[in-house]
């Protein structure tokens, strides 16, 4: 299991947070319980299984929603 932190462009509406949360949770390989969208920090944190999904794929899903990804960090747990 790996732990990722994705820094996004500034989020302005709390419902963006909900969109991102739902989108991230729906991806196969992402630990649902671990998904945390931080509205003020404009970050997404989650655990994922590196064999099933890569951070790039999650980034792509978020970008597809219309939110720019600034950088991401992955740590082996």
């Amino acid at each position: 299991m790996q732990k990722a932190t994705i820094q996004l462009e500034t989020l302005i509406c709390p419902s963006c947070g909900q969109k991102i949360e739902n989108a991230t949770k729906s991806l196969n390989g992402v630990e649902k319980e671990s998904v945390k969208v931080m509205f003020n920090a404009s970050k997404v944190k989650f655990d994922f299984d590196a064999e099933k999904i890569s951070v790039e794929e999650v980034e792509k899903a978020i970008t597809a929603l219309g939110y720019e990804v600034i950088k991401s960090q992955v740590k082996v747990k």
Partner: protein, 614 residues
């Protein structure tokens, strides 16, 4: 295409504004209706595009967002050929979002500034022995790093070689540089003001003390209180409910205008944003002043504290015994001090250290012979004189005579809580010094401020004897004082206070009082960047400056008030809008959107006031 439209939102706002101006002028000035209508139609379609894209994306992940409501409303307005309203609504919605982003960024600025202080690069020793600049993420535990003058220390580590002065303000709040040599510990985020150091990395990234502080603040600003979680749950069902309501109204009244007006008015913006805004601005203010408030739950509890319990040593007092009072019984005072310094220089007694610090030795006489008298002091031979330094017992043993004045001096100094150091030369008393752990500067005034802010009970707990503790309590105007307290007794006492129904804050330096810090409703760690204190407490005062404490309490209260105001504004606006739809003539979609956006800006601006709190 989608991304292009979304990224050009600001341009779209501008173009919409121009188009609407054209429509307005051509309608009024030139009576050219066709041009006016076409301008409005283009403005509407341009404006609704980014909103519709966001709405579509939201629906894809099963969220009924505000964008969905607005998109439907605008399409509805276009269908009933109310182009003026559709243009104004999209414009206001986009322009509002633009202003919100600007203002929200301001509220978050304080915390951003802090995170920017994180080190970004490091000079790492490569396999060939050379140092190369790398990203800080590439540094691992055990790497050897070079820190040059003016650079940030990239990790928590230990000095291997070199020396220098480091400004540790980012960790301890103390701006005076600290000297570092081999084996000294250094912290990430501190700045090497001069010198060069080679260090070995002990902890990197988020595991460093600075990394932990940043993470805690970041999590704090997004932590949610009970109220917020309620609002979140509420808004999840609120938007779909508004949508249903609008559909029902349309089905029954066949009045599209009314239905879409309800859609716009029902937008929950101010309510969902009001509380997080107060939170982030308040925590930002704290961060700027060296106060770490761990989240909105903590802020809520802290604002209700009625009882403050203080650890004495290091919190109310400086923690170092210093010379507080002195009486000289000789004309040649300087000479006496030189004798005293010469003798104390031979001793490693804690009181001797305080004496030497006070005298600030300029010269010393050679000491020929010293005898340590256990439980009494020292007797030494200096320049052919017998110098006795110690307590009253030692003086009595040496048959030193006390005058009437000396006796009253002794009683007075003892009553003030001093440990006494007497100096006799050739069995004649020359000097009396009172040494005690003195109360820190400004503590008294700041305790008064706490009282004014509503703290009812101020209690001091200490391991010292009851007499000393009573003196401190009397001097500071505390309500209760308890001595002879072991760490276990302190936490038991806090348990007792809690059982009585008090909301208790414990203030300590986190060195040996972590159980109490953890047990109190609010644990406040003061003036230290120690890991344990940061982890176990709810509020961390980075700076040992006591004035941070009333600031923190006042700030917590201000944040709670601010959140309440924002909730009242948000709920009030929605209620008034909905009521006026049904009971007044003047309400329409555009006014609704204007009021809605205005209320969002008002709660953001209201939250921003917290940044200025002093």
């Amino acid at each position: 295409m989608q991304r292009l439209i979304l990224s050009k939102k600001n341009h779209i706002v501008l173009i919409s504004a121009i188009l609407m101006a054209i429509a307005f002028i051509s309608n009024l000035g030139f009576k050219n209706e066709a041009l006016a209508i076409w301008s409005l139609v283009i403005a509407s379609i341009l404006g609704v595009a980014p909103i519709a894209i966001q709405a579509y994306q939201a629906l894809k992940v099963k969220v009924v967002s505000i964008d969905v409501l607005v998109t439907i409303a605008v399409i509805g307005a276009l269908l009933i050929r109310n182009f003026e309203e559709s243009a104004i609504v999209t414009f206001l919605f986009l322009f509002g979002a633009f202003l919100e982003k600007r203002t929200l960024n301001k509220t978050r600025l304080a915390i951003k500034e802090l995170t920017k202080m994180a080190p970004e690069s490091a000079f790492k020793q490569m396999e060939n022995g050379e140092f190369e600049e790398v990203e800080v993420d590439e540094v691992d535990v055990g790497d050897i790093l070079l820190v040059k003058t003016g650079a940030k220390v990239p990790v928590d580590g230990t000095v291997l070689s070199g020396e220098g002065y480091i400004n540790e303000a980012s960790i301890t709040g103390e701006a005076v540089p600290v000297g570092k040599t081999k084996d000294a510990g250094v912290f990430a985020g501190t700045i090497l003001e001069n010198g060069t150091l080679q260090i070995i990395a002990d902890r990197v990234g988020e595991d460093t003390t600075f990394g932990r502080i940043i993470e805690l603040i970041e999590e704090a600003q997004d932590s949610k209180s009970e109220t917020e979680r309620f609002i979140d749950r509420f808004s999840k069902y609120y938007t779909p409910t508004v949508l249903m309501l609008a559909i029902m109204v349309w089905l029954f009244s066949r009045d599209i205008e009314l239905a879409i007006t309800i859609l716009v008015l029902g937008c929950p913006g101010a309510l969902v944003i009001g509380v997080p805004v107060s939170n982030v601005a308040g925590i930002g203010n704290g961060a700027r002043h060296g106060i770490l408030l761990k989240g909105s739950e903590v802020i809520g509890d802290f604002s209700n504290v009625d009882t403050f319990v203080f650890d004495k040593t290091g919190t109310l007092t400086t923690g170092n015994p210093t010379v507080a009072e002195k009486e000289i019984y000789a004309d040649n005072g300087d000479e006496i001090f030189t004798y005293l310094a010469s003798v104390e220089n031979e001793s490693d007694h804690p009181l001797a250290k305080a004496v030497l610090e006070y005298i600030k030795i300029t010269k010393l006489y050679p000491v020929e012979q010293t005898d340590v008298v256990k439980g009494g002091g020292i007797i030494a031979q200096v320049n052919g004189h017998s110098v006795a330094v110690g307590n009253v017992t030692l003086m009595e043993r040496e048959n030193v005579q006390f005058s009437e004045k000396t006796r009253t001096d002794l009683i007075r100094l003892e009553k003030n809580g001093n440990s006494l150091v007497l100096v006799a030369i050739d069995n004649e008393l020359k000097l009396l010094m009172g040494i005690r752990d003195q109360i820190r500067q400004g503590v008294k005034e700041n305790l008064q401020k706490l009282k004014k802010l509503g703290a009812k009970n101020l209690v001091v707990l200490s391991g010292d004897n009851q007499g000393t503790v009573d003196l401190v309590a009397y001097e500071l105007g505390l309500t209760e004082a308890h001595g002879h307290m072991l760490p276990g007794d302190k936490s038991a006492y806090i348990e007792e206070l809690k059982a009585k129904g008090h909301i208790v804050a414990f203030v300590g330096d986190g060195v040996n009082d972590s159980p109490s810090l953890a047990l109190a409703h609010i644990g406040i760690a003061m003036g230290s960047g120690t890991d344990v204190a940061i982890e176990t407490s709810n509020v961390v005062l980075m700076n040992s400056d006591f004035s941070r404490l009333p600031h923190a309490l006042g700030l917590a209260k201000a944040i709670v008030n601010n959140m309440r105001q924002n909730i009242v504004i948000a709920v009030g606006v929605v209620l008034i809008l909905l009521a006026s739809v049904f009971f007044s003539e003047w309400m329409n979609m555009s006014i609704g959107m204007l009021v809605h956006e205005a209320s969002i800006l008002i709660v953001i601006l209201n939250g921003m006031r917290l940044l200025q709190y002093k």
